[in-house]
Amino acid sequence: MRIGIPRALLYYYYYPMWKTFFEELGAEVVLSSPSTKGILAQGLKYAVDEVCLPVKMSFGHVLDLAGKVDYVFLPRMVSVEHRKYICPKFLGLPDMIRCLDGVPPLIDVNVNLYRKDRDLYTAVKKAGSYLTANQIKIWVAYRRSVAALQKYNRLLQLGLIPEEALAVLEDRVKNEPLPYPSDLNVAVIGHPYNIYDPYISMNLVGRLRDMGATVFTSEQVPEKIVSKYAERLPKRLFWTLGQRMIGAAFHYLDRVDISGMVHVAAFGCGPDSMTGDMIERQAHALQAPFLSLTLDEHTGEAGILTRIEAFLDMVRWRQAEASGL
């Protein structure tokens, strides 16, 4: 059986887990192609107007899998940790997708860990049931998939971006890449599906690296540190991804070796409009160089390029000043 996984949204967090699980149960996993103008055009055509750019992009990725697979794995991601939620647009995603013509049948198990972690296994069992009735096999596949995820997360924490970490996991490269040569460190804070999709972000990470900056992202910050720093907020945030961005941003703003911060928001993202502002206020209070980028469907790259060039100029200028040159 062929199971398709769209290269979008939480793919950037969980792909190694999903892939290992289905492959252990004997399925062939097919990934949609990397984002292109064509995929986005499909997404824009079929998605409702209200959703944000990355969700529109995910529509395109599901449609890219049409005709190539027997099922598309599109879990309903309600909550991935105790007392926190994923954005509401993810809750409705399987239903929105199902309405489209020509979409393969969905495996849309409910992932909801809001009440207790054990509830995950209900979803695992259901997803496994599409391939086997053997409960032991499902359990073994699940254990292996968790191990794969842990390995992946470790690579992300070392500073690899998802694409590089997957290349290492899948043995496409034989050693772990070295840090890029750079003269400054910049934190890039944003939803993983925005900053790691080179089409959506207009290759932000690659451009910053080309301009001589080492990029630090929220995924490199261990969970413990994230929650410790997020506690600085007067009230608990109830979005998992928002909490990660806030905690990581506050952590990086505290670090002297990080010279500046770029916040990436998708136009029309509700959580971003709040967390982005909280981060910006904190950056201003600490007088840290801060750049806010808003991404949407436009393909003109001049705007992004001008902003990041000017930002790095400013950071370098300030650094030179600080070191008394």
Partner: protein
């Protein structure tokens, strides 16, 4: 005379500035780009060659503005810099001690905050272009008044009307409504200036500390109505430097001077490029579903540069010699 040339190719205007070796501005030319950046740059060079005394030696050239890469290739630039850095450099030299730069150009607006002679913060308009020169231009032509007279008419206002400046489209319908109610033209124009200033300060200036001396530059600074509206809203005097409309070009000429001193040579092709035949064209690459629009610049049938492709397949062909290492 020896000196340095700065060229700022913006969406609305193209400016050329010639500085002598001491950094004194000798010539400044302001032209409308009218969607033809190459021809306009050539026209500017021709005009400059006519104005400069014979035997003038151009020791280096820099380009900035949204057309900086194109212009840089045409003339052989020593410095190609984003407009934020260029504007900051020019202000620092022409208005010593400047702490706030308000810059409103044709299609973008920016704020630059400086402290102790270095840029500490900046912002540019995000996905919205309300509050830029193009909008004023468009409204002036809709009201049938030359843009040059916009400001002086606005100054005649007795009680400026309130216009919603949040979005250019709605501002226009608001203006039409006010016209139909019978408000006077000066009151509407002054109201429009105030709306733009409000929108600028809310959007671009959000959360920034605006300290005196405040400098207002960019093409829109020619509009006295806008200057007055800024002073009223900020409660601070607003200075407009003598070369407010060519500040980007001044800044990049200064940067070119620095670059030439550092490199010990210049890439400038000479003022004669005004006579060369440049051809630009674009084609859609069919290599993948991105369908990138690749732009090609050729001088006498020799391809100088290509850009616009996301994968580098076309632009790398031209830059090959550079890339080999």
């Amino acid at each position: 005379m020896k000196g340095y040339l700065g060229i700022d190719v913006g969406s609305v205007s193209t400016n050329l500035v010639f500085l002598n070796e001491g950094g004194i501005i000798k010539e400044a030319i302001y032209l409308r780009t009218q969607g033809q950046p190459i021809i306009t740059v050539q026209k500017g060079l021709k005009e400059l060659a006519g104005r400069l005394p014979s035997g003038t030696q151009v020791r280096g050239v820099g380009t900035t503005g949204s057309g900086r890469h194109l212009a840089g290739i045409i003339v052989g630039a020593d410095a190609v810099k984003n407009e934020i850095t260029a504007h900051a450099v020019a202000s620092l030299v022409l208005v010593p001690g400047v702490q706030t730069i308000l810059e409103i150009g044709g299609q973008d607006s920016k704020i630059i905050i400086l402290r102790n002679g270095i840029v500490t913060d900046f912002a540019m308009n995000t996905v919205c272009a309300a509050g830029t020169g193009s909008f004023l231009d468009q409204q002036a032509s809709r009201l049938n008044i030359p843009i040059e007279r916009f400001g002086e008419i606005a100054l005649e206002a007795e009680s400026p009307v309130r216009i919603a400046g949040r979005c250019a489209v709605f501002a226009e319908s608001d203006m039409i409504h006010k016209q139909q109610m019978g408000c006077s033209l000066p009151d509407i124009l002054a109201g429009l200036c105030e709306a733009l200033v409000r929108n600028y300060l809310n959007n671009v200036g959000k959360g920034k500390e605006l300290l005196s001396p405040v400098v207002f530059q960019g093409g829109v600074a020619a509009n006295v109505g806008m200057i007055k509206a800024f002073e009223k809203e900020l409660g601070l005097p607003v200075q407009v430097p003598a070369y407010f409309d060519v500040m980007g070009a001044v800044g990049v000429a200064l940067l070119a001077r620095e670059a030439v001193v550092k490199n010990g040579m210049s890439y400038f092709k000479g003022l004669s490029v005004a006579e060369s035949k440049f051809k630009t064209g674009s084609f859609e690459c069919s290599g993948c579903p991105n369908m990138c629009e690749v732009v090609e610049v050729a001088e006498d049938d020799m391809v100088l540069a290509r850009w616009g492709d996301r994968c580098g397949k076309w632009c790398n062909q031209v830059n090959k010699e550079e890339k080999v290492s």
